[in-house]
């Protein structure tokens, strides 16, 4: 090959790199090469040093949930044809990915009750930020209002994305771990582009959205509804029925493992009339030369590779494989399975909070599968966490991990269909011991 190129050595191919910058082979401070067996050993040991949800009882939520994932989902996304394909820029030889994306978009639109969905954002937090940017483009207004009961990580990222652009971002403080629609409405004005709420909210609170929708209508404000667990809409009112203009949240619950923070998937759905302002890739239906139905990436004139600095978003790589995971999961669940996942997730929390011992209190108001438990002090709470962990229970997330200004005596607790009745008995027993 070198002869054909007309050079003597491979290093001659790097002659255009100034000699000063050439590294001596082997000089990097990296470990020696490992053979495959060595890598497996290294990772197996590292994995063994962690406690994981597979052999514990996981009551952790806050945007990431331990739902059941049928084996088929991982099988499908392990297939090399899905796993090792690129973005479907040559549609004739990517119809598999494209049809799966079209099915994904359809099912996400139906599940969220919205008209259209895109082919994913990185995660819920960046998705919420993109929703705010999109609302600013549509309304040509710059002010963004967020309820303080939206997941703090979604708010942090959104605030940060908006911080370098003109316009005000307002956060309405949250009291009693609940959403107060009146307080949110009071923060709206005629310059507001959108209001962002979460449903159910970060603390699991479920509330009447209708007054907020009416207030938005009166002032031409877009309603953005964020969500952290899409599976709940198998039973609960989806954002579309609540009147959302944009629905954005996490699809991790739909067949994606928790994976220590990713890869997850951001779902993004909106009204059909807004599609040309939407961020990210979308797949659309069309015909081929022979008139057969087929699918392509479309509306690319919104995107960075065409529009460059005027694009609706800078997003290029998205969470494509997770779309296929979501689509596979949804096809196995169907309406009935999803409704059962939602009901069981909610039922487990109701059972948990229904019989709490004295000394611990659950937040008031209607809750879906997540709530806040409050203890007398940090010491009691942390004693409970330690006792529970000894019994293989991850009992909750100290709330100050999300909301640093809160008193360090609260616990964010979440349940899914993976929690059995016996797990809740054990949870109660650990509580009782900690509260003695």
């Amino acid at each position: 090959m070198l002869d054909r190129i007309g050079v003597d050595s491979i290093r001659d191919l790097f002659a255009d790199i100034p000699a000063d910058f050439h590294l001596q082979p082997g000089s990097l401070k990296l470990p020696r090469a490992l053979h495959e067996a060595g890598i497996v050993r290294k990772f197996t040991r590292a994995a063994a040093a962690n406690r994981h949800a597979g052999d514990t009882r996981c009551f952790l939520g806050g945007g990431t949930y331990h739902h059941f994932v049928p084996a088929v989902v991982d099988y499908v996304i392990s297939r090399g044809e899905f796993l090792t394909a690129y973005t479907p820029y040559q549609p004739e030889i990517a119809q598999g990915t494209l049809q799966a994306l079209f099915e994904f978009q359809t099912m996400i639109a139906r599940l969220t009750g919205m008209e259209v969905a895109n082919a994913s954002m990185y995660d819920a937090a960046t998705g919420v930020a993109e929703a705010a940017l999109m609302a600013r483009r549509i309304t040509r207004r710059q002010r963004v209002v967020m309820a303080g009961s939206v997941n703090s990580r979604y708010r942090d990222v959104t605030r940060n994305y908006l911080a370098r652009l003109d316009g005000e971002t307002v956060e309405v403080p949250c009291a009693k771990f609940a959403t107060d629609p009146d307080a949110v409405i009071a923060a709206l004005d005629g310059d507001t582009a959108c209001v962002i709420i979460q449903f159910p909210d970060f603390h699991g609170h479920v509330f009447d959205v209708a007054p907020l929708r009416a207030a938005c209508d009166a002032r031409g404000i877009l309603l953005v509804i964020a969500f952290s667990d899409a599976a709940l809409f198998g039973e609960l009112t989806p954002p579309g029925e609540l009147g959302a203009d944009i629905a954005v949240g996490s699809g991790q619950s739909l067949g994606v493992p928790m994976g220590f923070g990713g890869p997850h998937i951001g779902l993004f759905a909106c009204r059909q009339k807004f599609v040309r302002q939407m961020p990210g890739r979308v797949c659309g239906m069309t015909r081929d030369r022979d008139g057969k139905r087929g699918f392509v990436l479309t509306l690319s004139t919104r995107e960075q590779h065409i529009r460059r600095e005027k694009a609706t978003s800078n997003i290029c790589s998205n969470q494509g494989l997770m779309c296929t995971a979501n689509a596979t999961y949804l096809s196995l669940m169907g309406d009935q399975g999803l409704a059962a996942v939602a009901r069981r997730s909610i039922a487990a929390l109701a059972r948990l909070t229904g019989h709490l011992p004295a000394g611990v209190e659950a937040a008031a108001g209607a809750r879906a599968h997540e709530t806040v438990l409050s203890f007398a002090d940090r010491e009691t709470r942390d004693r409970f966490l330690a006792i529970a962990l000894q019994r293989d229970i991850f009992a909750g997330i100290p709330l100050e991990h999300f909301e640093p200004d809160t008193e360090p005596r609260h616990l964010l607790v979440s349940t899914t269909e993976m929690i059995e009745a016996g797990d809740i008995d054990d949870y109660h027993a650990a509580l009782q011991e900690a509260l003695l």
Binding site: I17, A33, A47, Q90, R344
Partner: protein, 492 residues
């Protein structure tokens, strides 16, 4: 028609949409947990009607998605020479490792002491990426290359602001750059100015000098650039930008040409994102997930996003708050599953063999260039790095365009190269073979390209205009799709 086209056999199935499957599963899927009705308090919050998600039996669902998968070209099916995309083989062991329950089943908010194993692997990757790039401080958080660009430009802006230099709001972007560069700069609230490339496809130093002033925050630069050529003036470019008070952002999309051979940090680049789904072989998944860690020098280190991984004694801690940080850009510490695959990939090469990645990638690309340079127009002659750029100038005389060549390659059993990018040449064809491919595969690809060129010369172009004929679908009408977008299947 050659008989080695990989996607065609007598058993090529049509497959209906999920919504057209008449047969829903007789019994719904069996689930764990507590079966109960919705609590009374939630009765007013039921959805008014079912969503319309079809529930298939397990075998029906498997068959549906397996059939769909068979309509895809992939790295595991065949050659995939997409320029600037680095479609290398994705080692299977990495898939196995990322799925270990002790890694895949971790909640991101577990107590730190219960996740030290995974934190150790991530911290190690952070150190390795710092060493490989020559930029010691690394964030693993950005979810993709473009997300890394955003984080990088935010850091550069924060650096200037911290010095009280708030006028620096301009980012210079060469006209050959990926579209994400200007889009990311705009998202960080910056103005972009395009730098015209010189006649040799590289940065024009005079043009650069004329654009530098006290409003320039940064130059965004891809090196090797998107024509596949190394910017040999890199030291001078960095010196000029630094002298004018700006910083140099490196787009690491083409790091596969340099890995183990030379380090962007040594050349004067201040900040670089790494597409681990390119250089470090994590699978592309039909569009993602990627991940775009950013490596920076001491100048920018204080501004890295949170959360940060920090070693204290023998423990790795996750630091969520830091006053000088640009703040939070993602909902978690990062796409751990992707990052772990990259860790495993680097571990397999280690210091002994990492340079062979770049060496073999560059060898393969130059070999393709040598074989094709007479049959196709080469806009910028000379050595290439990990990819080579051709155009359709010679074929256009025969009425054949880059698009026809690309589609004909499909019929001959290959995924096309990147087409019509970079934008600075007409009818671009950017070919990146990567180090994974054997000489035999590369020769067969070159043979196919030469056959196409011969057909053009001979005026035998009908097959080119008709292509592709072999896949499940022929050329698709993109105008129709965009004019009246149908993004979801209508309900019955």
């Amino acid at each position: 028609m050659t008989d080695d086209y990989s996607g065609v056999s007598g058993m090529q199935h049509e497959e209906a949409l999920l919504f057209e499957h008449a047969h829903e599963a007789a019994t719904p899927i069996s689930l764990p947990g507590i079966d109960a009705e919705l609590p009374d308090a939630l009765n007013g919050f039921r959805r008014s009607r079912q969503a319309g998600i079809p529930g298939l039996s397990e075998p029906e669902s498997v068959r549906h998605f397996v059939r769909l998968s068979q309509w895809n070209h992939s790295i595991e099916t065949g050659f995939y020479p997409l320029g600037s995309c680095t479609m290398k083989y994705n080692p299977r062991v990495n898939e196995q490792l990322a799925r270990l329950p002790g890694l895949a089943q971790l909640h991101p908010d577990q107590p730190e002491e219960s996740v030290q194993g995974v934190l150790e692997l991530l911290y190690e990757l952070q150190q390795w990426l710092g060493e490989i790039t020559g930029l010691a401080h690394v964030t693993l958080t950005p979810a993709a290359g473009a997300h890394g660009e955003l984080a990088g430009i935010m850091m550069i802006r924060a650096y200037h602001d911290a010095r009280g230099d708030r006028r620096r709001r301009t980012v210079l972007v060469p006209d050959s750059a990926h579209g994400t560069n200007p889009a990311s700069a705009a998202l960080a609230g910056m103005q972009t100015i395009e730098i015209k490339s010189a006649a040799n496809g590289r940065i024009d130093l005079d043009e650069l000098r004329s654009r530098l002033n006290d409003e320039v925050a940064a130059l965004m630069l891809t090196n090797p650039n998107t024509t596949g050529m190394f910017e040999s003036d890199i030291a001078e470019i960095c010196r000029l930008v630094h002298e004018a008070g700006g910083l140099v952002y490196g787009d690491g999309a083409n790091l596969n040409a340099l890995v183990g051979v030379a380090r962007p940090g040594d050349m004067g680049i201040d900040c670089l994102h790494i597409n681990v789904h390119k250089t470090f072989s994590t699978p592309h998944g039909g569009g993602g997930p990627g991940t775009g860690p950013v490596a920076v020098n001491d100048t920018l280190a204080p501004f890295l996003p949170v959360p940060k991984l920090v070693r204290e004694n023998n423990t790795i801690r996750i630091v969520h708050r830091d006053e000088r940080s640009i703040g939070s850009i993602f909902g978690s510490i990062g796409q751990t599953g992707v990052l772990l695959r990259a860790t495993a990939y680097i571990a397999a090469f280690g210091r002994d063999a990492l340079h062979r990645i770049a060496e073999d990638a560059v060898l393969n690309a130059n070999y393709i260039l040598a074989r094709l340079k007479d049959a196709y127009h080469v806009p910028f002659p000379g050595l290439c790095k990990h990819e080579c750029l051709l155009t359709d100038e010679k074929q256009e005389r025969h009425g054949v365009k880059t698009l026809d060549i690309a589609k004909r390659l499909i019929d001959l059993g290959f995924h096309p190269m990147t087409v019509y990018f970079p934008l600075i040449v007409h009818g671009a064809m950017l070919i990146e073979p990567t180090e994974s491919e054997s000489r035999e595969t590369i020769d067969r690809f070159c043979d196919a390209m030469l056959e196409i060129a011969r057909q053009c010369e001979a005026g035998d172009t009908e097959a080119l205009h008709q292509a592709p004929l072999m896949p499940i679908r022929r050329r698709l009408d993109e105008t129709l799709a965009a004019r009246k977008p149908v993004l979801v299947w209508p309900e019955d």
